[in-house]
């Protein structure tokens, strides 16, 4: 366990180093970043190898940090099976993200420094056992996103970046308000999560309901809770590939993790009040985002909305609040982190940087399965995983969530199951259109929406002729291959042996704080 804090320290040290290395050469910054991410992954796996799940939440460091003015803030890092799962996920996603941004040359030092700072913040959130500390790391993870997207992004990047950051920051303002209120109402002694939970039992019902509302809503915005998910598709589309991978893969998990670690255990009475609303919103998000994904013309928007739909399952699992549903939700966080990363990598890096279009109408006329076999196969695998096919990580996760939800609300489970069907539909649709389209344009194929810049690309026919006459794209590079293999291996491993992750997650739910969650919901 003692290796885990090094994930944080190494990331911030790596960020500084990458910034310095970047002034010399982009390659140096890349390698620094890759080694840092690998070291973080290594530390996570090392800790996982020696992890004893039955011990519950294990304190790693606990030092008084700001004792003045009765703030009682501690530098308190602790981990249980849930943190560990998400730390391993962060390690994998971070490594893959760097592999897929191997082609970044402009201001590479700054890019990787921001990237690693974000990762450091994410590790910090997953390890914090003090509300103040968690909030600090949470905000550290927000700001780099703005610069990553606004500088290195693509479609409507400044708009997407600002929208995303304002939504995130608005959410964190709600969280801060709720936490400070809980701290003050509890007599103002400590920010330790355990202490806050014990004072929260004395709050009035109204206080619990309002505080839960503030904190949960604040975190859930980042998890893509319907109807406040609108930052997600635009942000994902605007972001550079590595940032989309992190956003969908890890950052949205921060929101879900905040809900699970703070909002639910601290305010069980408030949760009971909101539970049915949350279940309804989660199901609405699954269905709504799935239906929207079904009619998108831009491949990246399809994946952006599919992310919202999949995160709906996480929120549904949390809201259903029984052992199976919550374990499934955590497993789904891991699974979606890997799969969404893979999808964004294929579309943003492997495909878009070669074809320079993501419009389905334009891709339809390209025989991509022949032009780019590796890309196509990767996307098909990622798509199957995303649909929840058995053998991939999405299957056990969504199955557990559905079984758990059925116990709480059979109606919600039924509708969510329809969401899985919709996911299959939109995934198959894009696989068919984008990768197995005909090589000749059909008269009925609609004009592409050239949203990025209307005057730049040539008309569809010329585009097709150009591409058809030069049907060779630059080959897939080794970092792309490695990254794709890493992510596919992770989703397969978690899909074939979900019991390993579950053996970490399930004992973590036995801790007193997590029992609050399971008791809080209606049985």
């Amino acid at each position: 366990m003692n290796a885990l804090p090094w994930t944080i320290y190494l990331s911030f040290a790596g960020a500084t180093l990458a910034l310095l290395a970047g002034t010399r050469a982009a390659a140096a910054a890349r390698w620094v970043a890759l080694l840092t991410a690998l070291a973080g992954l290594g530390a996570g796996l090392f800790a996982a190898a020696r992890f004893v799940p039955s011990r519950g939440l294990q304190t790693i460091v606990d030092l008084p940090w700001i004792p003045d003015l009765n703030l009682g803030i501690h530098y308190h890092l602790a981990a249980d099976g849930i943190s560990l799962t998400l730390i391993v996920l962060t390690g994998i996603a971070a490594t893959a993200g760097i592999l897929f941004s191997w082609n970044i040359t402009e201001r590479a030092g700054e890019f990787f420094a921001l990237y690693l700072a974000l990762i450091g913040g994410v590790y910090g959130v997953f390890l914090s056992a003090d509300a103040f500390l968690l909030f600090v790391f949470y905000e550290i993870a927000i700001v780099p996103k703005y610069f990553l997207i606004a500088k290195w992004g693509s479609t409507q990047r400044e708009y997407g970046a600002m929208k995303l950051v304002l939504f995130s920051f608005g959410g964190s303002a709600l969280v801060l308000a709720g936490l400070l209120w809980a701290y003050a109402a509890g007599g103002g002694k400590s920010f330790a999560l355990a202490d806050l939970a014990s004072v929260a039992t004395h709050f009035t019902r109204t206080e619990q309901i309002s505080m839960f509302g503030l904190v949960f809503l604040g975190f859930a915005i980042l998890a893509g809770l319907f109807p406040l998910h609108t930052w997600a598709p635009t942000g994902h589309v605007a972001a550079p590939t590595a940032a989309s991978m992190l956003l969908a893969g890890v950052v949205m998990k921060l929101g879900a993790y905040g809900c699970l670690r703070i909002a639910l255990p601290l305010f069980p009475v408030g949760f009971a009040f909101w539970q049915s609303t949350l279940i309804a919103l989660a199901v609405a998000g699954i269905l709504y985002a799935g239906l929207i994904a079904l009619v998108q013309d831009d491949l990246k928007f399809v994946i952006g909305y599919s992310s919202v739909s999949h995160m709906g399952f996480v929120l549904l699992g949390l809201a259903a609040a029984n052992g199976q549903a919550v374990s499934g939700a955590v497993l789904q966080m891991f699974s979606h982190g890997i799969i969404a990363g893979l999808l964004f990598a294929v579309v943003g890096r492997m495909l878009y940087e070669r074809t320079h279009t993501r419009q389905l109408a334009a891709l339809r006329s390209l025989p991509l399965h022949r032009l780019m076999p590796f890309t196509s196969i990767t996307f098909v695998i990622a798509g199957l995983a995303s649909m929840g096919m058995p053998g991939f990580s999405g299957f056990p996760a969504e199955l557990l969530i559905l079984i758990g939800t059925w116990k709480t609300s059979p109606l919600a489970a039924t509708f969510a199951a329809v969401g899985i069907l919709i996911a299959a539909a939109f995934t198959l649709r894009v696989i068919q259109i984008a990768f197995f389209g005909t090589s000749e344009p059909t008269a009925s194929s609609p004009r592409p929406h050239l949203s990025s810049s209307p005057n730049e690309p040539p008309a569809l026919s010329t585009l097709t002729t150009t591409l058809a006459s030069h049907p060779s794209y630059s080959p897939i590079t080794w970092p792309e291959r490695t990254g794709a293999v890493l992510l596919i291996a992770a989703t397969l491993y978690a899909g074939l042996k979900p019991d390993i992750l579950l053996s970490w997650i399930t004992p973590a739910l036995q801790s007193p704080l997590m029992q609050n969650v399971l008791k809080g919901g209606t049985p």
Partner: protein, 490 residues
């Protein structure tokens, strides 16, 4: 008053050091300045002034905290000491960014007046008597009026100075009127005696008038809405270092003075913060000022295109948060407020310092003038990132913890049963609004490419470069270890 003058001398050593330093600066310039260029004279003056501030810092550090001095006209306690250290440090940083200024025709006089202003600030920190408080305030204010109008090549500078002077004069008149009414009602000038008198007598109708007038003076000093109208013009028109001084050290000293006046002098008429019911006092009025400043500052800043006006509206918004700290100081002590005001000062000086250097290499008026700063000077861009993020309240920088501790203290007054609790929630919501305009600055500096005409790199003189770096490091260090400052007071 039979107390010995010998007691007064050690208490006023910092002020003595500063005044002596100011006179030395002028004298040295008079003797050696004739044949030398303006930048060289400025460097000499700044060096001497920094020496004087170092001496004053040393004197402050070694002063015994003996409590009331000389019959209670001054008080030497932890708050005095901490505020003096704070204003001296902020003045030193302001001086250190002065070499970024060009077009300064009388450098020695400029630096000397900064030192006189600093003398006023340190006196304000220690004042415990209505007359001393007013004199200290006026010494500081008059110096600041002059500093504002110092740029004789710019009509805006004169306009700003006139506006500042007229507003300042009127608000000083209000304040003086309020103080004399207070004296008339209580028959006392010394804060402790005023408290004794007030708690022994029923509420006098004139006292309400006095309170309102004192708060007008305070609102002006703090640039709180609706007494903020001078701020955008002064921040825009004044020489940059003058604006930095007004925004930083002057604010810290003002907040300490008025917090002391309100909480040790007028504590019996604090009134209640609960919106309905019991009699109103100054706390509710402060809450009103705070709410207005938070709303007006943050919303008006959204529409600004001029960098300095934007910083002015952000200053108004921050004043709203600091007023919340004043309200909370009764229960939590002055530590949160002091931390907030000091770290806000650091970040503001830093932001103005960056603007000064950029301005020295061309012009820095509107937001697009900062475009491509990351390429023109990575150092300035990196420092600006820290300063602006600290102003926006992003952890782990000091600006975040300042907000956090002030809001926590305000909420602890009684949760959401008091108006302070709701104000804290408003302030938190407004900080999310604030992030937008702060990011607009950073977008220009760090994301946008430089304008075609301004590809040249920006030379950063050594002293401003060092002080900007030091400011950035301080903001990170104080954000990570806020106890360093909190312990000075508690």
């Amino acid at each position: 008053m039979s107390a010995p003058y010998a007691q007064l001398f050690p208490a006023l050593l910092p002020e003595a050091a500063l005044s002596f330093g100011a006179l030395t600066v002028i004298a040295v310039d008079l003797i050696t300045g004739k044949k030398r260029s303006a930048p060289a004279r400025l460097n000499t003056a700044v060096t001497l002034a920094l020496g004087a501030i170092a001496a004053a810092l040393y004197c402050t550090g070694t002063t015994a905290r003996t409590g009331p001095v000389f019959g209670g006209i001054l008080v030497l306690d932890a708050l005095t000491c901490a505020t003096r250290l704070g204003v001296l440090a902020l003045t030193a940083f302001t001086l250190a960014i002065t070499p970024g200024l060009h077009r300064l025709r009388h450098p020695a006089e400029y630096v000397a007046i900064i030192l006189f202003a600093a003398t006023g600030f340190t006196l304000m920190a220690a004042a415990h008597h209505l007359l001393i408080a007013f004199l200290a305030l006026e010494l500081a204010s008059l110096s600041l009026y002059v500093l504002t109008g110092f740029d004789k090549n710019k009509p805006e500078s004169a306009e700003a100075a006139l506006k500042y002077f007229l507003f300042g004069g009127i608000s000083a008149a209000f304040l003086l009127f309020g103080l004399s009414l207070l004296y008339g009602v209580t028959g006392a000038l010394e804060f402790a005696a005023i408290t004794r008198q007030l708690s022994a007598m029923p509420t006098h109708p004139l006292l309400i008038v006095a309170l309102a007038m004192i708060l007008v003076g305070f609102g002006f000093k703090a640039a709180a809405a609706p007494f903020h109208l001078w701020a955008p013009d002064v921040y825009e028109g004044a020489p940059i270092t003058s604006a930095a001084l007004i925004a930083s050290a002057s604010k810290l000293a003002g907040f300490t003075l008025f917090t002391r006046l309100l909480w040790t002098g007028l504590a019996p008429s604090v009134g209640t913060l609960v919106t309905a019911g019991s009699p109103a006092g100054w706390a509710l009025l402060l809450a009103l000022l705070s709410a207005l400043s938070l709303l007006l500052g943050n919303l008006a800043a959204l529409a600004q295109t001029n960098v300095r006006r934007l910083l002015a509206y952000s200053a108004i918004a921050h004043a709203g948060a600091m007023l919340l700290g004043v309200i909370a100081a009764g229960q939590a002590g002055p530590a949160p407020l002091l931390y907030y005001a000091f770290t806000y000062g650091l970040a503001t000086i830093g932001a103005f310092g960056v603007i000064a250097v950029v301005d020295g290499a061309g012009s820095c008026k509107n937001l697009p003038d900062l475009a491509g700063l990351h390429r023109r000077s990575p150092l300035l861009a990196g420092c600006l990132l820290i300063f602006i993020l600290s102003l926006a309240g992003i952890p782990p920088l000091a600006g975040f913890f300042g907000k956090f501790v002030v809001f926590a203290a305000a909420l602890k007054l009684g949760g959401l049963t008091t108006s302070a609790g709701w104000l804290a929630l408003l302030a938190i919501a407004m900080s999310a609004v604030g992030l937008y305009y702060y990011l607009l600055i950073l977008k220009q500096a760090l994301v946008a490419p430089p304008a075609p005409a301004t590809h040249a790199t920006i030379p950063v003189p050594a002293l401003p470069a060092i002080s900007l770096l030091l400011l950035a490091v301080l903001l990170v260090a104080l954000g990570l270890f806020p106890s360093l400052i909190l312990r000075l007071v508690n």
